[in-house]
């Protein structure tokens, strides 16, 4: 009797596991669920942080809104899941989220070993240092021997180790799970320096208790191409996410914004614009999303420049002259032809 019972339990558990693994493609799942589940930081102003109404705002959040707009024609159909730095990739690989949009750098180790795939650059950053003005540090060379707070489980740690070794400098690292903990530790005086991506530093600075007493050093010690990640082995889904981003960048390049999109749809007569907005060609059918996916993205979320100006520029990070400008304006952001 006992054996029978355990056998039944075993069978039940196996069935559940099997049901979990033999799942449909992510796109079908998302459509069936009627909602996109998007992993973000949820505590990084400018990239993903709730506004006063509790609505997630930021460049990373906009990427998820764009994917939802492309699939459902309604950018509101997103559930945001806040993830810490340590749990983010595991959460994505384990299927807890459909897409991870959390200022995560594209690296070989991650791409090749974590069971996840990078989609496309949405923000190109570099690692910098936020220091108290009272230290009188002019550059990284002045930071010899400093205690440095940083987010743990990120690219920041190896970059810092490599740079300090190369320049024969020493430091004491203090690692934390999330950015707010790093900020709190710095505010409480546990360290005089924070190292992270410069945009994250700019975002943290806005939330410090005394933002006037700190400065961000001019040095940049690494390159950090950030963008959304998806699970490995589902290229149909990766295409949807990647082309949603391309759509925002293409709209920026073609001069289509949320303000003039209706006008452009009827009057532009420009074939690339019409293909993007779903008037010509059947790009939506090919991607298995809304026929007018490009129109929905631009209308509801805006083009890349609108999102950047709305979210990142207020942090004190202008777009001009940075790698985040379009390819034809000296940057590296480029959308392939539609």
């Amino acid at each position: 009797m006992k054996t029978w019972k355990s056998c039944a339990w075993l069978l039940g558990v196996t069935l559940m596991v099997a049901a979990g693994t033999a799942q449909a493609g992510t796109l079908e799942q998302v459509k069936a669920r009627g909602k996109l589940i998007c992993g973000t930081s949820g505590s990084t102003p400018g990239f993903s942080a709730p506004d006063n109404n509790g609505k997630m705002q930021g460049l990373d959040a906009d990427m998820c809104y764009a994917v939802a707009a492309a699939i459902f024609g309604d950018k509101g159909k997103v559930d945001f899941v806040p993830l810490t730095l340590v749990e983010r990739f595991t959460a994505l690989a384990a299927g807890e989220v459909d897409v991870l949009s959390r200022s995560s750098t594209n690296t070989l180790t991650r791409d090749a070993s974590l069971g996840i795939d990078f989609t496309y650059n949405t923000f190109i950053d570099g690692q910098g240092f936020l220091v108290r003005k009272s230290l009188n540090a002019k550059g990284v060379a002045d930071l010899d021997g400093a205690t440095i707070c940083m987010p743990s489980g990120t690219d920041t740690e190896p970059n810092l180790a490599a740079y300090f070794t190369k320049n024969k400098l020493t430091y004491k690292p203090v690692g934390f799970d999330t950015e707010p903990q790093v900020r709190e530790a710095f505010d409480a005086g546990a360290c005089d320096v924070i190292s992270s991506d410069k945009a994250i530093l700019a975002a943290m600075r806005t939330e410090l208790s005394k933002p006037d007493e700190v400065t961000i050093l001019p040095d940049t010690i690494s390159k950090e191409p950030n963008g959304p990640w998806v699970r490995q082995g589902d290229s149909e889904w990766a295409d949807v996410v990647r082309w949603s981003i391309y759509g925002m960048i293409a709209a920026d390049e073609l001069g289509v914004s949320s303000k003039n999109v209706d006008e452009m749809k009827t009057q532009s007569g420009n074939s690339p614009v019409l293909r993007l907005l779903g008037v010509e060609g059947e790009t939506g059918k090919l991607l298995k999303v809304q026929d007018d996916w490009g129109y929905q993205i631009v209308k509801q979320v805006g083009n890349y420049d609108e999102s950047y100006q709305r979210n990142v520029t207020p942090l004190g990070l202008p777009r001009e002259g940075t790698p985040n400008a379009l390819w034809n304006k000296g940057g590296v952001l480029l959308a392939p032809p539609l």
């Binding site: 340590v86 974590l114 009272s134 930071l143 743990s152 489980g153 004491k172 203090v174 409480a188 005086g189």
Partner: protein, 338 residues
């Protein structure tokens, strides 16, 4: 997902902040060493926490039953506060609200004479060195010998008390003389531009975590102690008092030895909880096994399955080891039927 143990022998790409008993150099540390240091750091805080929470717990538990109203009320307030608040909240409270703000910034470090200095980055103890190390070792050996001998003569008949006192004074003088003859010298830590150079570093996160674990676990142990004392039949206390024992003697010689049999089993669980709760280290930036092994190493190598499995084995092994030791102690304390 990759499963490959060879990463254990490759060089870690990041720096470990706190490695008290190993000199981990950047660019030479292997991942298995990161594990060993992380595990060691966890054990440091756990062992320190077990000792201190037991002492504090016994004091609070006895105070809870004290005839003194104030002591009784204070002890219950303590227990009800620290038993009912989430531990993470307590860790944050002690670290960010109490400990860090009360400590001075590095520039205003508190100098503890020749002992070292204290600031928000940690306690820096002077390094002690001897001109004649062999004499110092002789002093340590003599002190240990004297300690063992004196402990053994603790239950000597009344007449020998004078001999014990003489032996105690003579051995103390001998140890002090040997230490003096070894010519000790202190190397105090020096305040540098960006940090503290030299000295033995005890980071503030370690102290905050240790304190939070001590305070919280002591509340639970105090309840076990109280339960144990109450369970000793009241006649035992009454009898010892009528035989002329003082309340302290009655507690020490009559009540606690009997109460221990009831106190030990629930206390084992509290020790195990303390071991598991030490993983909150990541909240204050202490380099325990969860922070530098399950966090940083997992994210840098992508070896999720091996890293998590090793972490699970570590916690299970040390939990079982703790229970084994405590159960052995428990069976020694059991009433033996004759």
């Amino acid at each position: 997902m990759l499963i490959d143990t060879s990463f254990l022998w490759s060089v870690a790409s990041f720096k470990v902040g706190f490695s008290p008993f190993a000199d981990l150099r950047l660019g030479e540390t292997r991942y298995w060493q990161v594990f060993v240091v992380g595990a060691g750091n966890t054990l440091i805080v756990v062992i320190a926490g077990i000792v201190s929470s037991t002492l504090l717990g016994v004091v609070i538990g006895v105070a809870r039953l004290s005839a003194n109203l104030l002591a009784r009320r204070l002890a219950s307030a303590y227990i009800e506060t620290f038993r009912n608040l989430p531990l993470l909240l307590q860790v944050f409270f002690w670290h960010f609200i109490v400990i860090l703000p009360t400590l001075p910034a590095r520039q205003q470090s508190l100098v503890l004479g020749p002992g070292g200095m204290l600031n928000r980055e940690g306690l820096f103890l002077s390094l002690l060195s001897f001109a004649h190390p062999s004499l110092a070792w002789a002093a340590v050996a003599l002190a240990a010998l004297a300690f063992v001998v004196l402990l053994g003569s603790g239950r000597a008949p009344d007449g020998s008390t004078r001999h014990v006192a003489v032996a105690c004074i003579v051995s103390l003088l001998a140890v002090a003389g040997l230490l003096w003859a070894a010519v000790p010298s202190f190397e105090p830590p020096q305040l540098a531009r960006m940090g503290v150079v030299g000295g033995f570093w005890i980071p503030i996160p370690l102290m905050s975590l240790w304190w939070a674990l001590t305070v919280s676990t002591a509340a639970f142990i105090a309840e076990a102690v109280r339960a144990g004392i109450i369970a000793v039949p009241a006649g035992q206390r009454e009898a010892s008092r009528s035989l002329g024992f003082t309340p302290f003697q009655s507690l020490k010689l009559i009540e606690l030895p009997q109460a221990l049999r009831i106190i030990i089993p629930p206390t084992i669980s509290q020790y195990l909880n303390l071991l598991k709760n030490s993983s909150l280290a990541v909240a204050v930036g202490y380099d325990d096994i969860v922070n530098i092994w399950m966090g940083a190493t997992l994210n840098q190598t992508g070896q999720a399955i091996i890293v998590i499995a090793v972490t699970m084995i570590f916690f299970t092994t040390f939990s079982l080891l703790t229970s084994l030791l405590m159960n052995m102690y428990n069976s020694r304390m059991q009433i033996r039927e004759r």
